[in-house]
């Protein structure tokens, strides 16, 4: 009796292990923070790229939605996604875009904006990259969309594509 129980236990144990391994084969083991939504962003104070002014989280509370976009002139995918930001800014009144220029030189960044358009209501600078950590950023480009209460409602890791763009439009209705 006890023996049968032992056998049953061992068999189910082995089947459990093997099933987990089988399921694990289908999973993607690359980590992404794109599901880390719902929290509020921390309070911050970032210097402007162009002049000596600052922007803080309080000012963002005035916007219905804000898209915080981390970009750099040396980043090729940033150039590709930029047109979506320009379009977003032109066609939507309820979302404002805060740009954060990441580990870049002022002149290069300004040239970038001159070439491709400036969709940003404010361009902040993050020359040593430390501010990006405050926002949970780990790659460039990366964008965070927050609501009036400064809660993160979407994260886009990597360049914004057509699918992301349509998703954003849905969210800000």
């Amino acid at each position: 009796m006890k023996n049968n129980f032992k056998k049953f236990f061992i068999f189910s144990f082995v089947i459990f292990f093997l099933s987990i391994f089988t399921l694990a084969l289908k999973k993607d083991n690359n980590y992404s923070t794109k599901n880390l939504i719902g929290n509020q962003i921390s309070s911050f104070q970032l210097p402007s790229l162009r002049n000596s002014s600052f922007i803080t989280d309080k000012e963002l509370k005035q916007n219905q939605f804000t898209l915080i976009n981390f970009f750099a002139s040396w980043c090729a995918p940033c150039r590709i996604e930029h047109k979506y930001l320009v379009r977003l800014n032109d066609q939507n009144k309820n979302i404002k875009i805060l740009g954060v220029n990441f580990k870049d030189k002022k002149n290069n960044a300004l040239n970038f904006l001159n070439d491709l358009g400036d969709p940003y209501s404010f361009v902040a600078k993050d020359p040593d990259g430390k501010a990006s950590i405050l926002f949970g950023i780990y790659g460039i480009p990366e964008s965070i969309i927050i609501n009036k209460e400064l809660e993160i409602i979407k994260k886009i890791v990597g360049p914004i594509d057509q699918k992301d763009y349509e998703e954003i439009l849905r969210l800000i209705k």
Partner: protein, 123 residues
């Protein structure tokens, strides 16, 4: 003689302190995962992300934050994946608990084997 010993130990402990701060920094680096690398800590990685996080950790240590506060900060931004030492919560409870359970289980098996031998010898 006693005074000399006390001075000696104070001197010893103060000279340790200078290198201790540095040691703590490296220890923290070794516990933080580089998110864009394949299985490396920020101590071992040369990536952009690693160097940025190192700066942030240095700043926070200078501000007087404790190790746990720094880890909690990073976890709140990046998830539990970023720290190599799993925290003790309901998800990871089994992880920390199972090895010791097996240790105790093994001890019990050995105890019963020895007991059976002793009993059969006494009979």
């Amino acid at each position: 003689m006693m005074l000399k010993k006390i001075i000696f130990f104070i001197f010893l402990s103060s000279s340790i302190h200078a290198s201790e701060v540095n040691l703590e920094l490296i220890e923290i680096y070794k516990n933080i995962r580089c998110l864009i690398c394949q299985g490396q800590s920020i101590a071992d990685s040369n990536s952009d992300f690693a160097s940025t996080v190192k700066l942030v950790v240095q700043d926070q240590l200078k501000d007087g934050k404790t190790k746990k506060e720094i880890y909690d900060f990073l976890i709140s931004k990046y998830g539990e994946w970023i720290v190599y030492q799993p925290t003790l919560n309901k998800n990871n409870f089994l992880l920390w608990f199972l090895p010791y359970l097996i240790l105790v289980f093994g001890a019990l098996i050995i105890f019963f084997i020895l007991k059976k031998t002793k009993d059969s010898k006494d009979n």
